[in-house]
Protein backbone atom coordinates (compact mmCIF):
# COMPACT_ATOMS: atom_id res chain seq x y z
CA UNK A 1 0.00 0.00 0.00
CA UNK A 2 1.46 3.33 -1.07
CA UNK A 3 0.91 6.66 0.66
CA UNK A 4 -0.67 7.91 -2.55
CA UNK A 5 -3.30 5.13 -2.28
CA UNK A 6 -4.17 6.28 1.22
CA UNK A 7 -4.27 9.95 0.24
CA UNK A 8 -6.59 9.07 -2.62
CA UNK A 9 -8.84 7.03 -0.32
CA UNK A 10 -8.96 9.93 2.17
CA UNK A 11 -9.93 12.34 -0.58
CA UNK A 12 -12.69 10.04 -1.83
CA UNK A 13 -13.95 9.56 1.73
CA UNK A 14 -14.26 13.31 2.29
CA UNK A 15 -15.97 13.86 -1.05
CA UNK A 16 -18.37 11.02 -0.35
CA UNK A 17 -19.68 12.68 2.81
CA UNK A 18 -19.52 16.26 1.57
CA UNK A 19 -21.46 15.46 -1.60
CA UNK A 20 -24.16 13.54 0.26
CA UNK A 21 -23.25 10.11 -1.08
CA UNK A 22 -23.71 8.61 2.36
CA UNK A 23 -24.82 5.24 1.00
CA UNK A 24 -21.27 4.77 -0.31
CA UNK A 25 -19.67 5.74 3.01
CA UNK A 26 -19.71 2.27 4.66
CA UNK A 27 -17.87 0.95 1.59
CA UNK A 28 -14.69 2.66 2.79
CA UNK A 29 -14.57 0.23 5.71
CA UNK A 30 -13.83 -3.46 6.13
CA UNK A 31 -16.66 -5.76 7.15
CA UNK A 32 -15.48 -6.04 10.77
CA UNK A 33 -14.33 -2.43 11.12
CA UNK A 34 -14.29 -0.21 14.18
CA UNK A 35 -15.55 3.34 13.71
CA UNK A 36 -15.71 5.60 16.68
CA UNK A 37 -16.11 9.35 17.21
CA UNK A 38 -14.67 10.60 20.45
CA UNK A 39 -12.91 13.65 21.86
CA UNK A 40 -9.30 14.36 22.75
CA UNK A 41 -10.13 14.32 26.46
CA UNK A 42 -11.90 10.97 26.32
CA UNK A 43 -9.08 9.60 24.20
CA UNK A 44 -6.45 10.80 26.66
CA UNK A 45 -8.33 9.33 29.62
CA UNK A 46 -8.88 6.02 27.85
CA UNK A 47 -12.67 6.24 27.98
CA UNK A 48 -14.10 3.70 25.61
CA UNK A 49 -17.50 5.23 24.80
CA UNK A 50 -18.08 7.22 21.64
CA UNK A 51 -20.44 9.81 20.26
CA UNK A 52 -20.78 7.18 17.55
CA UNK A 53 -19.53 3.63 18.18
CA UNK A 54 -19.73 0.95 15.53
CA UNK A 55 -17.91 -2.36 15.25
CA UNK A 56 -19.29 -3.58 11.95
CA UNK A 57 -19.96 -2.23 8.49
CA UNK A 58 -23.58 -3.20 9.09
CA UNK A 59 -23.78 -0.68 11.94
CA UNK A 60 -22.50 2.03 9.59
CA UNK A 61 -25.15 1.07 7.02
CA UNK A 62 -27.76 1.26 9.78
CA UNK A 63 -26.48 4.71 10.72
CA UNK A 64 -27.00 5.90 7.15
CA UNK A 65 -30.46 4.31 6.96
CA UNK A 66 -31.43 5.97 10.25
CA UNK A 67 -30.22 9.37 9.00
CA UNK A 68 -32.16 8.94 5.79
CA UNK A 69 -35.37 7.44 7.14
CA UNK A 70 -35.73 7.99 10.87
CA UNK A 71 -33.76 10.82 12.40
CA UNK A 72 -34.97 14.38 12.28
CA UNK A 73 -32.52 17.23 11.93
CA UNK A 74 -32.22 20.38 9.90
CA UNK A 75 -30.74 19.94 6.46
CA UNK A 76 -27.03 20.67 6.41
CA UNK A 77 -23.80 19.64 4.77
CA UNK A 78 -20.13 19.41 5.66
CA UNK A 79 -16.94 20.54 4.01
CA UNK A 80 -14.01 18.37 5.08
CA UNK A 81 -10.53 19.83 4.72
CA UNK A 82 -7.94 17.14 5.34
CA UNK A 83 -4.31 17.60 6.23
CA UNK A 84 -1.49 15.37 5.15
CA UNK A 85 -1.58 11.82 6.48
CA UNK A 86 1.29 10.79 8.68
CA UNK A 87 2.02 7.12 7.98
CA UNK A 88 3.54 4.64 10.36
CA UNK A 89 5.41 1.56 9.16
CA UNK A 90 3.25 -1.24 7.88
CA UNK A 91 2.67 -3.88 10.59
CA UNK A 92 0.93 -7.26 10.57
CA UNK A 93 -2.43 -5.54 11.20
CA UNK A 94 -2.06 -3.11 8.30
CA UNK A 95 -0.89 0.47 7.92
CA UNK A 96 -1.61 3.03 10.60
CA UNK A 97 -2.00 6.69 9.72
CA UNK A 98 -2.91 9.91 11.43
CA UNK A 99 -4.61 12.67 9.47
CA UNK A 100 -5.75 16.07 10.75
CA UNK A 101 -9.13 17.33 9.62
CA UNK A 102 -11.25 20.42 9.75
CA UNK A 103 -14.98 20.25 9.10
CA UNK A 104 -17.23 23.22 8.41
CA UNK A 105 -20.98 22.74 8.74
CA UNK A 106 -23.24 24.60 6.34
CA UNK A 107 -26.84 24.87 7.55
CA UNK A 108 -29.82 25.11 5.21
CA UNK A 109 -30.07 28.87 5.79
CA UNK A 110 -26.46 29.30 4.69
CA UNK A 111 -24.93 29.76 8.13
CA UNK A 112 -21.44 28.25 8.01
CA UNK A 113 -19.53 27.39 11.14
CA UNK A 114 -16.40 25.53 12.07
CA UNK A 115 -18.06 22.37 13.36
CA UNK A 116 -15.12 20.17 14.27
CA UNK A 117 -11.38 19.88 14.14
CA UNK A 118 -9.40 16.80 15.05
CA UNK A 119 -7.53 13.85 13.67
CA UNK A 120 -8.34 10.50 12.17
CA UNK A 121 -6.43 7.63 13.75
CA UNK A 122 -6.70 5.01 11.04
CA UNK A 123 -5.77 1.43 10.38
CA UNK A 124 -5.77 0.58 6.68
CA UNK A 125 -5.91 -2.87 5.15
CA UNK A 126 -5.76 -3.72 1.48
CA UNK A 127 -8.83 -5.47 0.10
CA UNK A 128 -8.62 -8.27 -2.48
CA UNK A 129 -8.07 -5.76 -5.26
CA UNK A 130 -5.33 -4.08 -3.24
CA UNK A 131 -7.38 -0.98 -2.43
CA UNK A 132 -6.99 0.44 1.08
CA UNK A 133 -9.99 -0.08 3.38
CA UNK A 134 -10.45 1.25 6.89
CA UNK A 135 -10.24 -1.53 9.46
CA UNK A 136 -10.34 1.15 12.11
CA UNK A 137 -11.08 4.85 12.16
CA UNK A 138 -11.04 6.62 15.50
CA UNK A 139 -12.20 10.19 14.96
CA UNK A 140 -10.65 12.22 17.77
CA UNK A 141 -12.27 15.66 17.93
CA UNK A 142 -10.14 18.32 19.57
CA UNK A 143 -13.03 19.95 21.43
CA UNK A 144 -15.14 18.24 24.04
CA UNK A 145 -18.16 20.15 22.76
CA UNK A 146 -20.62 19.34 20.00
CA UNK A 147 -22.86 22.09 18.72
CA UNK A 148 -26.54 21.06 18.72
CA UNK A 149 -26.12 17.55 17.32
CA UNK A 150 -23.93 15.33 15.21
CA UNK A 151 -25.91 13.74 12.41
CA UNK A 152 -23.66 13.28 9.37
CA UNK A 153 -20.53 11.23 10.05
CA UNK A 154 -17.10 12.82 10.27
Amino acid sequence: MQITDIIAAQARYARCIDTDQLEAWPGFFTEDCLYRITTAENHRLGYAAGIIWADSRGMLEDRVAALREANIYERHSYRHILGLPLLEDEGPEGVRSETPFLVARIMRDGATDLFATGRYLDLWRADEAGAPKLAERIVVCDSSRTDTLLALPL
Binding site: I37, Y47, A48, I51, W53, G58, R145, L149, L150
Partner: protein, 428 residues
Protein backbone atom coordinates in the same frame (compact mmCIF):
# COMPACT_ATOMS: atom_id res chain seq x y z
CA UNK B 1 -33.40 60.17 39.48
CA UNK B 2 -35.29 57.21 40.88
CA UNK B 3 -37.47 58.10 43.81
CA UNK B 4 -36.40 55.77 46.58
CA UNK B 5 -39.39 56.72 48.68
CA UNK B 6 -41.75 55.02 46.31
CA UNK B 7 -42.78 51.48 47.29
CA UNK B 8 -41.42 48.60 45.21
CA UNK B 9 -43.34 48.35 41.99
CA UNK B 10 -45.98 45.70 41.51
CA UNK B 11 -43.58 43.71 39.32
CA UNK B 12 -43.07 40.08 40.21
CA UNK B 13 -39.92 40.20 42.25
CA UNK B 14 -36.71 40.24 40.29
CA UNK B 15 -38.20 41.30 36.96
CA UNK B 16 -37.05 44.60 35.50
CA UNK B 17 -40.16 45.15 33.37
CA UNK B 18 -43.71 43.82 33.54
CA UNK B 19 -44.24 40.43 31.88
CA UNK B 20 -45.65 40.69 28.35
CA UNK B 21 -48.71 38.83 29.60
CA UNK B 22 -49.54 37.55 33.05
CA UNK B 23 -48.90 33.87 33.66
CA UNK B 24 -52.36 32.25 33.65
CA UNK B 25 -53.50 30.34 36.72
CA UNK B 26 -53.01 26.60 36.73
CA UNK B 27 -50.36 24.45 35.08
CA UNK B 28 -51.60 24.16 31.50
CA UNK B 29 -50.16 27.38 30.11
CA UNK B 30 -46.55 28.53 29.92
CA UNK B 31 -45.90 32.02 28.57
CA UNK B 32 -43.08 32.16 26.03
CA UNK B 33 -41.48 35.21 27.68
CA UNK B 34 -40.16 32.83 30.32
CA UNK B 35 -37.73 31.46 27.69
CA UNK B 36 -36.68 34.86 26.39
CA UNK B 37 -35.90 37.31 29.15
CA UNK B 38 -32.57 38.24 30.69
CA UNK B 39 -34.23 39.22 33.95
CA UNK B 40 -35.90 35.81 34.20
CA UNK B 41 -32.53 34.14 33.62
CA UNK B 42 -30.99 36.24 36.39
CA UNK B 43 -33.88 35.46 38.71
CA UNK B 44 -33.40 31.74 38.05
CA UNK B 45 -29.78 31.93 39.15
CA UNK B 46 -30.75 33.23 42.58
CA UNK B 47 -34.12 31.57 43.09
CA UNK B 48 -33.76 28.26 41.28
CA UNK B 49 -30.12 27.23 41.16
CA UNK B 50 -29.05 29.03 44.35
CA UNK B 51 -32.53 28.73 45.84
CA UNK B 52 -34.35 25.93 47.63
CA UNK B 53 -32.98 23.21 45.39
CA UNK B 54 -30.43 20.41 45.26
CA UNK B 55 -28.16 20.48 42.22
CA UNK B 56 -26.07 17.66 40.82
CA UNK B 57 -22.34 18.40 40.88
CA UNK B 58 -20.50 15.21 39.93
CA UNK B 59 -20.14 11.52 40.64
CA UNK B 60 -18.61 10.39 43.90
CA UNK B 61 -16.45 8.06 41.78
CA UNK B 62 -14.91 11.10 40.06
CA UNK B 63 -13.50 12.33 43.36
CA UNK B 64 -12.74 8.95 44.90
CA UNK B 65 -9.52 9.74 46.76
CA UNK B 66 -8.74 12.47 49.31
CA UNK B 67 -7.46 15.50 47.39
CA UNK B 68 -9.42 14.64 44.23
CA UNK B 69 -11.48 17.53 42.94
CA UNK B 70 -13.77 18.43 40.09
CA UNK B 71 -14.57 21.90 38.84
CA UNK B 72 -18.25 22.07 38.01
CA UNK B 73 -21.06 24.58 38.17
CA UNK B 74 -24.20 25.29 40.12
CA UNK B 75 -26.29 27.17 37.62
CA UNK B 76 -23.70 29.57 36.28
CA UNK B 77 -21.60 29.64 39.44
CA UNK B 78 -18.22 27.92 39.27
CA UNK B 79 -17.94 25.33 42.01
CA UNK B 80 -15.23 23.02 43.31
CA UNK B 81 -16.30 19.62 44.60
CA UNK B 82 -13.52 18.14 46.68
CA UNK B 83 -12.85 14.99 48.73
CA UNK B 84 -10.96 15.85 51.93
CA UNK B 85 -8.82 13.55 54.07
CA UNK B 86 -11.72 12.94 56.44
CA UNK B 87 -13.38 11.15 53.52
CA UNK B 88 -16.14 13.75 53.26
CA UNK B 89 -17.07 15.70 50.16
CA UNK B 90 -17.00 19.49 50.31
CA UNK B 91 -18.23 22.01 47.77
CA UNK B 92 -17.47 25.69 47.61
CA UNK B 93 -17.35 28.49 45.07
CA UNK B 94 -14.36 28.35 42.77
CA UNK B 95 -13.66 32.01 43.53
CA UNK B 96 -10.78 33.52 45.43
CA UNK B 97 -12.01 35.78 48.24
CA UNK B 98 -9.28 38.26 47.49
CA UNK B 99 -10.11 39.58 44.02
CA UNK B 100 -12.52 36.99 42.69
CA UNK B 101 -10.32 34.95 40.33
CA UNK B 102 -10.96 31.26 39.75
CA UNK B 103 -9.09 29.21 42.33
CA UNK B 104 -8.70 26.09 40.19
CA UNK B 105 -8.24 26.25 36.42
CA UNK B 106 -8.38 22.56 35.55
CA UNK B 107 -11.63 20.63 35.15
CA UNK B 108 -10.44 17.96 37.54
CA UNK B 109 -7.33 16.88 39.33
CA UNK B 110 -5.68 16.09 42.61
CA UNK B 111 -4.55 18.72 45.08
CA UNK B 112 -3.08 19.05 48.55
CA UNK B 113 -4.39 22.60 48.69
CA UNK B 114 -5.64 25.19 46.23
CA UNK B 115 -3.61 28.28 45.44
CA UNK B 116 -5.02 31.16 43.45
CA UNK B 117 -2.64 32.03 40.61
CA UNK B 118 -3.29 35.77 40.88
CA UNK B 119 -1.77 36.58 44.30
CA UNK B 120 -1.16 33.08 45.70
CA UNK B 121 -3.83 33.08 48.36
CA UNK B 122 -4.31 29.47 49.37
CA UNK B 123 -7.17 27.30 50.58
CA UNK B 124 -7.51 23.92 52.20
CA UNK B 125 -9.64 21.17 50.68
CA UNK B 126 -12.74 22.43 52.48
CA UNK B 127 -12.40 25.94 51.06
CA UNK B 128 -10.97 27.61 54.16
CA UNK B 129 -8.50 30.42 53.50
CA UNK B 130 -5.18 29.22 54.89
CA UNK B 131 -2.55 31.48 53.41
CA UNK B 132 -2.11 35.05 52.19
CA UNK B 133 1.14 35.74 50.36
CA UNK B 134 3.23 38.47 52.02
CA UNK B 135 0.62 38.72 54.77
CA UNK B 136 3.17 40.33 57.09
CA UNK B 137 4.71 42.41 54.32
CA UNK B 138 8.35 42.48 53.29
CA UNK B 139 10.96 43.81 55.70
CA UNK B 140 8.21 45.23 57.87
CA UNK B 141 6.73 47.19 54.97
CA UNK B 142 3.25 46.59 53.49
CA UNK B 143 1.31 43.48 54.31
CA UNK B 144 -2.23 43.03 55.53
CA UNK B 145 -3.52 45.07 58.45
CA UNK B 146 -3.43 43.57 61.95
CA UNK B 147 -7.20 43.29 62.02
CA UNK B 148 -7.38 41.03 58.94
CA UNK B 149 -8.56 37.54 59.96
CA UNK B 150 -8.28 34.75 57.43
CA UNK B 151 -11.07 32.88 59.22
CA UNK B 152 -13.48 35.68 58.32
CA UNK B 153 -12.96 35.13 54.60
CA UNK B 154 -13.84 32.12 52.57
CA UNK B 155 -15.65 31.38 49.33
CA UNK B 156 -19.29 30.53 49.95
CA UNK B 157 -19.67 26.93 50.97
CA UNK B 158 -22.47 24.65 49.87
CA UNK B 159 -24.30 21.87 51.63
CA UNK B 160 -23.51 18.55 50.00
CA UNK B 161 -25.31 15.22 49.96
CA UNK B 162 -24.48 11.92 48.29
CA UNK B 163 -27.21 9.67 46.92
CA UNK B 164 -26.01 6.32 45.58
CA UNK B 165 -22.78 7.87 44.32
CA UNK B 166 -24.37 11.07 42.98
CA UNK B 167 -23.06 14.25 44.58
CA UNK B 168 -25.64 16.99 45.03
CA UNK B 169 -25.15 20.43 46.55
CA UNK B 170 -27.36 23.24 47.72
CA UNK B 171 -26.69 26.89 48.42
CA UNK B 172 -29.73 26.94 50.69
CA UNK B 173 -29.61 26.34 54.44
CA UNK B 174 -33.32 25.67 54.52
CA UNK B 175 -33.84 23.21 51.67
CA UNK B 176 -35.15 19.89 53.04
CA UNK B 177 -32.72 16.96 53.26
CA UNK B 178 -32.06 15.38 49.86
CA UNK B 179 -34.09 12.23 50.62
CA UNK B 180 -37.14 14.36 51.34
CA UNK B 181 -36.46 16.61 48.36
CA UNK B 182 -36.36 13.62 46.02
CA UNK B 183 -39.20 11.67 47.63
CA UNK B 184 -39.38 7.90 48.23
CA UNK B 185 -40.37 6.91 44.70
CA UNK B 186 -37.52 8.84 43.07
CA UNK B 187 -35.07 7.51 45.66
CA UNK B 188 -36.19 3.94 44.88
CA UNK B 189 -35.71 4.49 41.17
CA UNK B 190 -32.19 5.90 41.66
CA UNK B 191 -31.44 2.94 43.92
CA UNK B 192 -32.72 0.60 41.21
CA UNK B 193 -29.96 1.71 38.83
CA UNK B 194 -27.11 2.77 41.10
CA UNK B 195 -27.74 1.18 44.49
CA UNK B 196 -24.78 -0.81 45.82
CA UNK B 197 -22.88 -0.45 42.55
CA UNK B 198 -19.42 0.92 41.89
CA UNK B 199 -19.74 3.40 39.06
CA UNK B 200 -17.10 3.78 36.38
CA UNK B 201 -17.08 6.66 33.91
CA UNK B 202 -16.76 5.42 30.32
CA UNK B 203 -17.19 8.69 28.44
CA UNK B 204 -17.90 12.35 28.85
CA UNK B 205 -19.34 14.68 26.20
CA UNK B 206 -20.79 18.16 26.14
CA UNK B 207 -23.60 19.10 23.80
CA UNK B 208 -24.29 22.80 23.25
CA UNK B 209 -28.00 23.39 22.86
CA UNK B 210 -29.27 26.46 20.98
CA UNK B 211 -32.09 27.07 23.43
CA UNK B 212 -33.13 28.08 26.90
CA UNK B 213 -32.34 25.39 29.50
CA UNK B 214 -36.01 25.00 30.41
CA UNK B 215 -36.86 23.82 26.91
CA UNK B 216 -34.48 20.92 27.41
CA UNK B 217 -35.67 19.95 30.88
CA UNK B 218 -39.26 20.15 29.63
CA UNK B 219 -38.28 17.81 26.79
CA UNK B 220 -36.75 15.33 29.25
CA UNK B 221 -40.02 15.24 31.20
CA UNK B 222 -42.17 15.07 28.08
CA UNK B 223 -43.14 11.42 27.67
CA UNK B 224 -45.68 12.45 25.02
CA UNK B 225 -43.11 13.32 22.35
CA UNK B 226 -40.99 10.18 22.57
CA UNK B 227 -42.65 8.00 19.92
CA UNK B 228 -43.63 10.98 17.75
CA UNK B 229 -40.34 12.85 17.41
CA UNK B 230 -37.97 9.92 17.75
CA UNK B 231 -38.78 7.63 14.86
CA UNK B 232 -35.83 5.28 15.10
CA UNK B 233 -37.68 2.50 16.89
CA UNK B 234 -40.81 2.72 14.76
CA UNK B 235 -38.93 3.00 11.47
CA UNK B 236 -36.99 -0.17 12.18
CA UNK B 237 -40.08 -1.86 13.60
CA UNK B 238 -38.59 -2.17 17.00
CA UNK B 239 -41.63 -0.97 18.91
CA UNK B 240 -43.28 -3.55 21.05
CA UNK B 241 -46.97 -3.29 21.59
CA UNK B 242 -46.70 -5.46 24.65
CA UNK B 243 -44.90 -2.85 26.66
CA UNK B 244 -46.24 -1.33 29.80
CA UNK B 245 -45.07 1.84 31.35
CA UNK B 246 -45.95 4.85 33.34
CA UNK B 247 -44.96 8.10 34.84
CA UNK B 248 -44.07 9.05 38.38
CA UNK B 249 -44.24 12.71 39.37
CA UNK B 250 -42.94 13.69 42.79
CA UNK B 251 -45.09 15.61 45.27
CA UNK B 252 -43.22 18.84 44.46
CA UNK B 253 -43.79 18.23 40.75
CA UNK B 254 -40.12 18.88 40.02
CA UNK B 255 -38.83 15.32 39.92
CA UNK B 256 -40.07 12.60 37.64
CA UNK B 257 -39.55 9.10 36.33
CA UNK B 258 -40.83 7.89 32.99
CA UNK B 259 -40.43 4.18 32.37
CA UNK B 260 -41.44 1.37 30.10
CA UNK B 261 -41.07 -2.34 30.60
CA UNK B 262 -41.72 -5.56 28.79
CA UNK B 263 -45.13 -6.84 29.80
CA UNK B 264 -44.21 -10.47 30.43
CA UNK B 265 -47.81 -11.57 30.77
CA UNK B 266 -48.80 -10.09 27.42
CA UNK B 267 -45.66 -11.50 25.89
CA UNK B 268 -46.43 -15.00 27.19
CA UNK B 269 -50.00 -14.79 25.90
CA UNK B 270 -48.82 -13.66 22.51
CA UNK B 271 -46.35 -16.51 22.36
CA UNK B 272 -49.00 -19.02 23.41
CA UNK B 273 -51.29 -17.71 20.69
CA UNK B 274 -48.44 -18.26 18.23
CA UNK B 275 -48.85 -14.76 16.88
CA UNK B 276 -45.83 -13.36 18.60
CA UNK B 277 -44.48 -11.73 15.50
CA UNK B 278 -47.83 -10.17 14.69
CA UNK B 279 -48.30 -8.89 18.23
CA UNK B 280 -44.80 -7.73 18.66
CA UNK B 281 -44.21 -5.27 15.91
CA UNK B 282 -45.83 -2.71 13.75
CA UNK B 283 -45.37 -3.46 10.10
CA UNK B 284 -45.49 -0.12 8.39
CA UNK B 285 -42.02 0.09 6.93
CA UNK B 286 -39.60 -2.05 5.00
CA UNK B 287 -36.55 -1.14 7.01
CA UNK B 288 -34.59 -3.65 9.02
CA UNK B 289 -31.34 -3.16 10.90
CA UNK B 290 -28.38 -4.77 9.13
CA UNK B 291 -26.72 -5.29 12.49
CA UNK B 292 -29.46 -5.74 15.11
CA UNK B 293 -26.88 -6.58 17.78
CA UNK B 294 -27.21 -2.98 18.94
CA UNK B 295 -30.52 -3.95 20.55
CA UNK B 296 -29.52 -7.28 22.08
CA UNK B 297 -29.26 -5.74 25.52
CA UNK B 298 -29.29 -7.59 28.81
CA UNK B 299 -32.00 -7.28 31.44
CA UNK B 300 -29.32 -6.21 33.91
CA UNK B 301 -31.71 -5.01 36.59
CA UNK B 302 -33.89 -8.11 36.30
CA UNK B 303 -37.20 -6.26 36.10
CA UNK B 304 -37.77 -6.01 32.35
CA UNK B 305 -37.60 -2.22 32.44
CA UNK B 306 -35.97 -1.18 29.19
CA UNK B 307 -36.24 2.55 29.66
CA UNK B 308 -36.13 4.73 32.73
CA UNK B 309 -35.66 8.46 32.44
CA UNK B 310 -35.42 10.16 35.82
CA UNK B 311 -35.13 13.87 36.42
CA UNK B 312 -34.49 15.94 39.51
CA UNK B 313 -35.40 19.61 39.63
CA UNK B 314 -33.84 21.70 38.29
CA UNK B 315 -31.19 20.24 36.01
CA UNK B 316 -30.36 16.59 36.69
CA UNK B 317 -31.19 13.51 34.61
CA UNK B 318 -30.37 9.84 35.19
CA UNK B 319 -30.94 7.77 32.10
CA UNK B 320 -31.26 4.04 31.53
CA UNK B 321 -32.07 3.15 27.94
CA UNK B 322 -31.56 -0.60 27.88
CA UNK B 323 -27.88 -0.89 28.92
CA UNK B 324 -26.93 2.68 28.05
CA UNK B 325 -26.59 4.47 31.37
CA UNK B 326 -25.81 8.15 31.61
CA UNK B 327 -25.98 11.20 33.80
CA UNK B 328 -27.03 14.45 32.17
CA UNK B 329 -26.33 17.79 33.80
CA UNK B 330 -28.19 20.77 32.35
CA UNK B 331 -26.38 24.11 32.72
CA UNK B 332 -27.80 27.41 31.47
CA UNK B 333 -25.35 29.55 29.50
CA UNK B 334 -27.52 32.60 28.96
CA UNK B 335 -31.10 33.01 27.81
CA UNK B 336 -30.76 31.05 24.59
CA UNK B 337 -27.81 28.71 25.22
CA UNK B 338 -27.52 25.59 27.35
CA UNK B 339 -24.70 23.16 28.05
CA UNK B 340 -25.75 19.56 28.32
CA UNK B 341 -23.02 17.53 30.00
CA UNK B 342 -23.26 13.80 29.37
CA UNK B 343 -21.42 11.35 31.58
CA UNK B 344 -21.70 7.80 30.25
CA UNK B 345 -21.28 5.23 32.97
CA UNK B 346 -20.86 1.54 33.57
CA UNK B 347 -20.08 -0.46 36.67
CA UNK B 348 -16.73 -1.81 37.87
CA UNK B 349 -18.08 -5.36 37.79
CA UNK B 350 -19.46 -5.20 34.23
CA UNK B 351 -18.73 -8.35 32.24
CA UNK B 352 -16.87 -7.63 28.96
CA UNK B 353 -20.11 -8.48 27.10
CA UNK B 354 -22.17 -6.04 29.13
CA UNK B 355 -19.55 -3.29 28.77
CA UNK B 356 -19.50 -3.78 25.01
CA UNK B 357 -23.29 -3.57 24.95
CA UNK B 358 -23.10 -0.23 26.80
CA UNK B 359 -20.72 1.08 24.12
CA UNK B 360 -22.97 -0.19 21.34
CA UNK B 361 -26.13 1.19 22.88
CA UNK B 362 -24.35 4.48 23.43
CA UNK B 363 -25.40 4.98 19.80
CA UNK B 364 -28.96 5.48 21.04
CA UNK B 365 -28.05 8.52 23.14
CA UNK B 366 -25.84 11.60 23.18
CA UNK B 367 -25.31 14.24 20.49
CA UNK B 368 -25.54 11.61 17.72
CA UNK B 369 -28.02 9.32 19.46
CA UNK B 370 -30.59 7.47 17.36
CA UNK B 371 -33.24 8.35 19.93
CA UNK B 372 -31.85 11.58 21.31
CA UNK B 373 -30.27 13.63 18.52
CA UNK B 374 -33.63 15.26 17.85
CA UNK B 375 -33.71 16.57 21.42
CA UNK B 376 -30.59 18.56 20.56
CA UNK B 377 -32.34 20.56 17.88
CA UNK B 378 -36.02 20.62 18.87
CA UNK B 379 -35.42 23.12 21.69
CA UNK B 380 -33.83 25.41 19.12
CA UNK B 381 -36.90 25.05 16.91
CA UNK B 382 -39.01 26.37 19.80
CA UNK B 383 -36.52 29.11 20.71
CA UNK B 384 -36.61 30.36 17.11
CA UNK B 385 -40.31 29.69 16.70
CA UNK B 386 -41.43 31.85 19.61
CA UNK B 387 -39.54 34.98 18.57
CA UNK B 388 -42.20 37.67 18.46
CA UNK B 389 -44.62 35.57 20.50
CA UNK B 390 -43.64 36.55 24.01
CA UNK B 391 -47.29 37.44 24.69
CA UNK B 392 -48.41 33.93 23.73
CA UNK B 393 -48.10 30.68 25.60
CA UNK B 394 -47.54 26.95 25.22
CA UNK B 395 -50.49 24.62 25.76
CA UNK B 396 -49.96 21.71 28.14
CA UNK B 397 -53.27 19.89 28.32
CA UNK B 398 -52.32 16.37 27.24
CA UNK B 399 -53.47 14.00 29.98
CA UNK B 400 -55.37 16.67 31.91
CA UNK B 401 -54.38 19.62 34.02
CA UNK B 402 -52.64 18.12 37.01
CA UNK B 403 -49.12 16.97 37.75
CA UNK B 404 -49.55 13.54 39.24
CA UNK B 405 -48.33 10.03 38.53
CA UNK B 406 -50.13 8.05 35.86
CA UNK B 407 -50.09 4.69 34.09
CA UNK B 408 -49.87 6.25 30.65
CA UNK B 409 -47.09 8.13 29.01
CA UNK B 410 -49.46 9.95 26.65
CA UNK B 411 -49.49 12.86 29.04
CA UNK B 412 -47.71 16.08 29.87
CA UNK B 413 -48.14 15.60 33.62
CA UNK B 414 -44.42 15.73 34.41
CA UNK B 415 -43.91 18.80 32.23
CA UNK B 416 -46.66 20.48 34.25
CA UNK B 417 -44.88 19.18 37.35
CA UNK B 418 -41.71 21.01 36.33
CA UNK B 419 -43.62 24.28 36.01
CA UNK B 420 -45.30 23.72 39.34
CA UNK B 421 -41.91 23.45 41.04
CA UNK B 422 -40.51 26.31 38.96
CA UNK B 423 -43.29 28.72 39.88
CA UNK B 424 -42.98 27.72 43.52
CA UNK B 425 -39.24 28.54 43.40
CA UNK B 426 -39.36 31.74 41.40
CA UNK B 427 -42.66 33.21 42.51
CA UNK B 428 -43.46 33.95 38.86
Amino acid sequence: MPDHNLPETALPHGLTAPPEVPWPEGLTRVPYWVFQREDVAALEQTHVFRGETWNYLCLEAEIAKPGDYRATTLGGVPILAVRDHDGEIYAFENRCVHRGALIALEDFGHAREFTCVYHAWSYDLQGNLKGVAFKDGINGQGGMPECFRMSEHSPRKLRTAVVHGLVFASASDTVPPIEEYLGDEIMERIDRVLGGREVEVIGRFTQELPNNWKLYVENVRDSYHASLLHLFFTTFELNRLNMKGGLIVSESGGNHVSYSAIDREAEAKAKAANDYAAQNIRSESDYRLKDPSVLEGQDEFGDGVTLQILSVFPGFVLQQIQNALAIRQVVPRGVGRTDLHWTYIGFKDDTPELRKMRLKQGNLVGPAGYVSMEDGCVGGFVQRGVVGASDRHAVLEMGGADASSTRTRATEASVRGFWKAYRECTGL
